[in-house]
Structure formats: structure tokens, C-alpha cells
């Protein structure tokens, strides 16, 4: 399986340098479309995105990303908001905010 990256060209260049080839540059493809095709691609195991990009997605896609296990979505950057979804999930399931 492969890793995949969605983001603007500044964000994806570094990952390209690390050898990742399944890259969706949002300057040449719409963000929604890129996310949809990455989620449907069976060969993608991990999907890397920037938090700011995730935040501008429509709610349904955001939910699909949060719930997706394959590919697993890892978000980076965006002022330490990366773990907020997991935090919400913990609060909902355990009842206490343990991600402090």
C-alpha cells in the first residue's frame, strides 16, 4: 500500500522529496474531488492532509475523513488543532477529556 498527500504545492513538495508519488496538488485539482478519489482508492493506506484544508471541506466529507480507517487520515499543521477530532471522540466515548 501507498501513502498519499493532498495539499497545495508548498505542502506536497516536501513529501515528494521523501519519495511519495500519489500526490494530489490542489492547484491542479479541486480539493473535494481529490479527497473523494483518495478515499475511493484502495491502494492508499495513509492519507496526509493539512488541517486548514480539512477545515474548509464540506461537513459530509469532513465526517467521511474522520471516520475513515482505510485510508487512515493524518492531519498536520494548522495551530495544534490536529488532534481535536480524536479528542471529541474520546469525550464522546469515555465521557471525560483525557487528551489534555
Amino acid at each position: 500500500m501507498e501513502l498519499s498527500v493532498i495539499g497545495n504545492s508548498d505542502f506536497v513538495t516536501g513529501f515528494r522529496l521523501a519519495g511519495i508519488r500519489k500526490i494530489y496538488d490542489t492547484e491542479s485539482i479541486e480539493l473535494d474531488e481529490a479527497v473523494r478519489s483518495a478515499l475511493e482508492d484502495d491502494s492508499v493506506g495513509i492519507l496526509i492532509m493539512h488541517n486548514d484544508d480539512v477545515n474548509i471541506l464540506p461537513e459530509s466529507l469532513k465526517r467521511a475523513l474522520n471516520d475513515s480507517v482505510q485510508p487512515t487520515v493524518v492531519t498536520l499543521g494548522g495551530g495544534g488543532d490536529s488532534s481535536s477530532n480524536l479528542r471529541e471522540k474520546i469525550k464522546q466515548a469515555v465521557g471525560v477529556d483525557l487528551w489534555k
Binding site: 500500500m1 501507498e2 501513502l3 504545492s9 508548498d10 513538495t13 516536501g14 513529501f15 515528494r16 522529496l17 521523501a18 519519495g19 511519495i20 508519488r21 493506506g45 495513509i46 496526509i48 471516520d67 480507517v69 482505510q70 487512515t72 493524518v74 498536520l76 499543521g77 495544534g80 490536529s82 488532534s83 480524536l86 471522540k89 474520546i90 464522546q92 466515548a93 469515555v94 483525557l98 487528551w99
Partner: protein
Amino acid sequence: MAVKDVKPTRSELQALQKRIKLSKNGHKLLKMKRDGLIMEFFKILDKARNVREELDKAYEDAVLASNLASAVEGSIALKSASFSVNVVPSIELKNTNIMGVVVPEIRGSDVHKQLHTRGYGVVGTNAYIDEAADTYEILVEKIIVAAELETTMKRLLDDIEKTKRRVNALEFKVIPELEESVSFIKLRLEEMERESLSSLKKIKGKSA
């Protein structure tokens, strides 16, 4: 099951008592499963938190190194070097089982590469690009670890929630309703017994 839908018969009473016993057993087992899942969750919680911190730090380092390389060498040169990397990192997904919850075990390969195996020319590029490539490779390694832990946590949390709902449904809905039906049948049967006894007495009184 609403009380009014229950037939007040002995066979129904026996069937309900069997169901109560089964529900109580299930409730006990599900409670144990929920506690076990929460313990497993606590085991990986600290690990996941640390990995997330390391990941954020690695991302900052990688962005810094990439910006530096871009400033020194120019963004075109950086992009050109990035397009010539030909060793693609891959991941292997294996499934492991934690108390009935299938969680992934992710192993990465070809993530961290030697300088000469990256694919771009050593002469045409400088150390800043190597540094940027290095930091991004470290970042990808951290991403793989974080992906495994965060997926495991997501799955465990989903299952904890599901199990919690089942436990609560059994404890506060199913078992109390069944017990209510049992007590209704018992009362009804006793009443029927009293009715038949009094009618027998009446018949006996008439015939005497």
C-alpha cells in the same frame, strides 16, 4: 416488550425467566468487555499523545528545512530534485485483534533512504535539499506510527461506545422490562388461581 403484550401463562413465564438469565449473563460479559477495552485504550493513550507531539515537532522541522532549501536553492530546484526521487516508500497493513476489535499494524518500508539512493544528483544539489529530504523522511516515519496508533484508538473508541450502549440498553431497558413482565405474569397467575378457587367454593356451596 410491553407488559400488555404478554400472555399470562406459565410457559411464557418460564421463557421470560430464561431470557432474563441470558440477558444478565450477556450484560455481565459486555460489561467485562467494555472495561477491558477501556484498559486497552488507556494503554495506548499516552503513547498516542506522545507520538502526536513528536509528529507536530517533526512537521515544524520539516517545513523549516524545506523553506530553507527553497530559499537557498530556489523552489524550482527543490521541485526538480523532488521529482527525481525514485524510491517510493510503501506500507504494509496487517490486522491484529484486541478483544474482538480488529486493529491495523502498519509497517513502513523504504522510508528512510541513503543519500546516494534518493535519485537526485549529488553534484547538482546542496546540503539544504538533503536536509529537507531527511526531515521529510523522518516525518513520514512518524506519520506511519501515528496512523497506526490513531486508527487503533479510533476503532477502540468506536467499540467502547457501541459496547457501552449495549450495556446501558440491557441494564436500563431490556432487563427491567422483562422483570416487569415476569412480575405481571406472576400477579396474573395468582389472581387466576384465586378466581378458580372462589368459583370452586361457590360450586361446592351450591351443590351442598
